[in-house]
């Protein structure tokens, strides 16, 4: 895997206005990989992207591209192109000229320019829009122009900064599929920044979760979802119930006033931990057979499932189930040992 | 880093160019000597003479009277005009706006002589009346251009909402529309006031020797070779303007901050 690494950030830190906004990041990105930087706003994901694009110079650390240090390389000399957050299309140029822009800079002959722009517009399904002005395009169409414009120079890496943020839900889903298709057909690396966990899980080969300028966890979408490294990741990636617990010994944890078997080990004895349980992993059973029981406070229909809030042992538990229970009724709940995720408490900031 | 150093130098150079003449004026306002070239010692003599110069004081009061009256008239006329023009259909609106742009684009000297010809033909003798008419004429377009965008930004439904909630059309107009466009009206008023204070060229053609405004007096003083009171006058004007501008900017910055806080 290592010979495949295209971009490496080594110990990269960034200060802005005297404040450290990126803390010594180490990150390798492989060739032809779809990597997503995921995190809430202000987590440093866009800064990381801009370092790779060449718009932010790291205060400390090194950036390598294909084995070469590129810290001081200006953006226009990098084999990387960016799809900007609000597209940043050139308002004085039409669709064709926007896409053509990069080719013109590289003095590509006119005939070739025309065929390449045509191909590219076909790739992003914008055939026939060549002479439209930018302000007469819908958000989705502008998005496609931005992608075509960034891809025309055949970059080895495409950086995408929340490219779908301004689109409505349905269009966003369509574009997710389309971006994945484009990435696979062109066989280039995509580095994708988003705060939308669902987007990250659907599209990526690898997800990098960031918070407050640090990388919290990286791995395949499955890993991240099933084995979150800490309560923050668990909460950020999908909904979770997070409660305080005490690890009595390996494979035995206490929370909600009783002991549960679990599959985690390697904690200190009597260590205070976070216990994370996904809402769909709590089964509702008759209150006598449940491991613990509580009062149903609310039931909301969510389309595929019902979302219930159950008050038990001092916590409000969120439960997803295909069956609705009566509000105000007592229900029992049970959890399988391998659905209980134990995590070290995060240090308080 | 090198780049920002270079751009700071450039800004500094332009600012130097803009401010050297003003600094020179202020420094020489404290010069005891009458001649511009020689520095003989610090003195407040010219300030004293300035305040005893009947012509200057008279023209200052002329200027203020004319500016206040014409700014108020222009604001009333312009605000009503903006609302009326805003209500027009496309074609009529663009015609009215072209008429509005005209005095702004037309060279002042042409406007000055054309008004002078009009007054001469109608036999109106030059004086306060002609000055005020001329000032209202060139100030009103600025009021319209300040109020118009506010009308356009306004949500058209707020007037209907006010009616819906029980306002009479008059009440709705005064309680909803006017407050909404007030910032535009005020900046139009301020702009008119300052343009009127500052105008030289048009006033030059439509005033008489008894109704001279300050800029005209200044012009006749510069025609005489030596008139050090001008320096003192400049210094005072500069300080007044500086204080006003700083106050406005501090106020603006504070408001912006408050707004940002509100969004946070």
């Amino acid at each position: 895997m290592n010979e495949n690494v295209l971009i490496s950030l080594r110990n990269v830190a960034v200060d802005y206005d005297g404040e450290r906004i990126l803390h010594n990041i180490d990150l390798d990105i492989n060739d032809k990989e779809f990597v997503t930087l995921l995190g809430p706003s202000g987590c440093g994901k866009t800064t990381t992207l801009r370092i790779i694009g060449g718009f932010v110079e790291p205060t400390e650390g090194d950036v390598f591209f294909d084995g070469e240090r590129i810290n001081d390389l200006p953006p226009y000399k990098r084999q990387v192109n960016t799809v900007f957050q609000r597209y940043a299309l050139f308002p004085h140029l039409n669709v064709f000229e926007n896409v053509e822009f990069g080719l013109k800079l590289h003095k590509v002959p006119e005939q070739e320019r025309r065929t390449r722009v045509k191909e590219m517009l076909e790739l992003v399904n914008l055939k026939g829009y060549e002479h439209r002005t930018i302000n007469r395009l819908s958000g989705g169409q502008q998005q496609r122009v931005a992608i075509a414009r960034a891809l025309i120079n055949h970059p080895r890496v495409l950086l995408l900064d929340e490219p779908l943020g301004a689109l409505d839900l349905k269009l966003r889903k369509e574009m997710q599929v389309e971006l994945k298709r484009i990435q696979q057909s062109l066989e280039i690396t995509f580095i994708y920044v988003t705060h939308d966990q669902e987007e990250a899980l659907t599209m990526s080969d690898r997800v990098v979760v960031m918070k407050d300028g640090n990388i919290l966890q990286q791995g395949t979408p499955q890993d991240i979802y099933n084995e979150p490294a800490n309560a923050f990741v668990a909460d950020f990636i999908g909904e979770s119930n997070i409660v305080d617990g005490i690890m009595h010994r390996d494979f035995l944890v206490e929370f909600a006033g009783r002991e549960f078997d679990c599959v985690d080990k390697g904690f200190d004895e009597q260590e205070r931990v976070d216990v994370v349980i996904r809402p769909e992993d709590i089964k509702i059973v008759p209150s006598i057979t449940g491991q613990f029981s509580g009062l149903v406070e609310s039931v909301t229909f969510k389309g595929v499932h019902y979302e219930m809030i159950v008050d038990a042992c001092g916590y409000k538990w969120m439960i997803h189930s295909t069956h609705a229970e009566e509000v105000g009724s007592m229900v029992g709940m049970s959890v399988e040992p391998n659905d209980i995720h134990i995590m070290h408490k995060m240090e308080e900031e | 880093m090198k780049k920002s150093w270079l751009s700071r130098c450039y800004v500094g150079l332009v600012m130097f160019f803009l401010y050297v003449p003003i600094i020179v004026l202020i420094v020489y306002s404290f010069n005891e000597n009458k001649s511009r070239g020689v520095w003989t010692g610090f003195s407040l003599k010219w300030y004293r003479e300035l305040f005893h110069n009947e012509i200057i004081l008279q023209s200052l009061s002329n200027t203020l009277i004319v500016a206040v009256i014409s700014a108020i008239l222009a604001t009333l006329l312009g605000t009503a005009a903006a609302i009326g023009i805003f209500s027009m259909g496309r074609k009529a609106r663009s015609l009215a706006m072209n008429i509005t742009y005209f005095p702004i684009i037309n060279p002042e000297i042409v406007m000055g002589v054309s008004l002078m010809l009009l007054f001469a033909m109608c036999g109106i003798s030059l004086g306060y009346l002609t000055l005020i008419i001329a000032h209202v004429t060139f100030c009103t377009p600025y009021v319209i251009l300040n109020v118009m965008p506010k009308l356009r930004q306004m949500d058209n439904h707020i007037y209907e909402a006010a009616l819906d909630l029980g306002c009479s059309p008059m009440q709705a107009f005064y309680k909803v529309i006017i407050p909404e466009i007030m910032p535009g009206i005020l900046s139009g008023l301020m702009m008119s006031f300052t343009y009127s204070l500052d105008d030289f060229i048009i006033s030059y053609f439509v005033s008489s020797s008894t109704s001279q405004t300050l800029p005209i007096t200044i012009y006749s003083m510069t025609r005489r070779k030596v008139s050090p009171e001008i320096n003192a006058l400049s210094a005072i004007i500069f300080v007044v303007v500086l204080v006003i501008l700083i106050a406005v900017n501090v106020y603006g910055a504070r408001q912006e901050k408050q707004q940002q806080k509100r969004y946070l």
């Binding site: 718009f55 200006p74 953006p75 226009y76 000399k77 192109n81 960016t82 900007f84 940043a88 050139f90 004085h92 822009f101 013109k104 | 450039y10 800004v11 332009v14 803009l18 003449p21 020179v24 004026l25 511009r36 070239g37 006329l77 009503a80 005009a81 903006a82 609302i83 009326g84 023009i85 209500s87 009215a96 005209f102 005095p103 684009i105 060279p107 002042e108 000297i109 042409v110 406007m111 002589v113 054309s114 010809l117 209202v136 004429t137 009103t140 600025y142 251009l145 300040n146 107009f173 300052t194 500052d198 060229i201 800029p215 200044i218 510069t222 001008i230 004007i237 303007v241 700083i246 900017n249």
Partner: protein, 272 residues
């Protein structure tokens, strides 16, 4: 309805009486003799003053071009500065404009004259004295000094609208700093350039005080010529009106040329 066209009537009447009729009067005077008969003599006589008109145009063009060259980088630097810095720069540029231009021009007399500041300074090095005042150069300097802010402000306003992302996008696609300037920033700031040119050229070509104060008798401009016909010794409003007509035509030509470069959007915002 608060929408009421009638409330604009007083303004429209006012404009008709004090803007449109006076212009008609200018045209009338330009085309008649003193006794009121139709003639083209006045316009023909303007031809005598062709050298004055040409030198007015030339000096104004020079002043406009230098203003553009000086203002362009400044406006760009301003538009990229942080909010507070921008506010400060704006204030520093507006501040001199609030002082009457006669005062500012008067100050240049102090600086440029024969025993003025520059010559006294040069004297220390044994140079001079140079003749600076009462030259066309001094007039151009006065024009630039007085109207430079009119160039900076519209440029700054259009450049503010250029998103930083747009510049980054160009760099990202491989544009060198020079290419970013020529292919993105200049095309996008064209509306500001044309407005700025108009806003500097028009007052330059029609000024009379600046040339009188800094040019002495050396360079008479169109404005001086008009003023002389109305208030000077050679009282001749018919000829003055004819010259005014010519001045307006020159300005119309200038504006038409500027309009060819952009479609005239946002004119309103620019003028304020």
């Amino acid at each position: 309805m608060f929408k009421n066209r009638a409330v604009s009537a007083p303004y429209l009447v006012w404009s008709a009486i004090f803007v449109i009729i006076p212009l008609g009067l200018v045209a009338y005077y330009a085309l008649t003799t003193r006794s009121g008969e139709f003639t083209l003599d006045n316009l023909a006589r303007v031809g005598q003053y062709a050298p004055v008109i040409m030198s007015s145009i030339l000096l104004s063009i020079i002043a406009t071009i230098i203003s553009l060259i000086v203002a362009y980088p400044l406006a760009f630097i301003m538009s990229r500065a942080s909010g507070n810095t921008q506010r400060t720069y704006m204030m520093l540029i507006m501040l001199p404009m609030w002082m009457n231009f006669l005062l500012r021009t008067y100050s240049w007399m102090t600086i440029l004259e024969r025993n003025g500041l520059i010559n006294r300074f040069l004297e220390l090095f044994g140079i001079g004295p140079l003749t600076m005042i009462n030259t066309p150069g001094a007039v151009v300097l006065g024009m630039i000094y007085n109207y430079l802010p009119f160039m900076i402000l519209p440029l700054y306003t259009t450049m503010l609208k250029i998103e930083h992302h747009t510049i980054e996008a160009a760099q990202d696609l491989g544009a060198t700093p020079w290419q970013v300037l020529s292919r993105v920033i200049i095309p996008l700031s064209m509306p500001g350039v044309t407005t700025g040119i108009t806003m500097v050229f028009v007052p330059c070509i029609s000024t009379f005080a600046i040339s009188r104060m800094l040019g002495g008798g050396s360079s008479m401009l169109i404005g001086d010529l008009i003023e002389l016909q109305f208030l000077g010794n050679t009282y001749n409003p018919n000829l003055g009106a004819a010259i005014s007509m010519v001045l307006m035509v020159i300005i119309l030509i200038c504006m038409a040329m500027m309009n060819m470069f952009d479609d005239g959007e946002d004119k309103e915002a620019m003028l304020l």
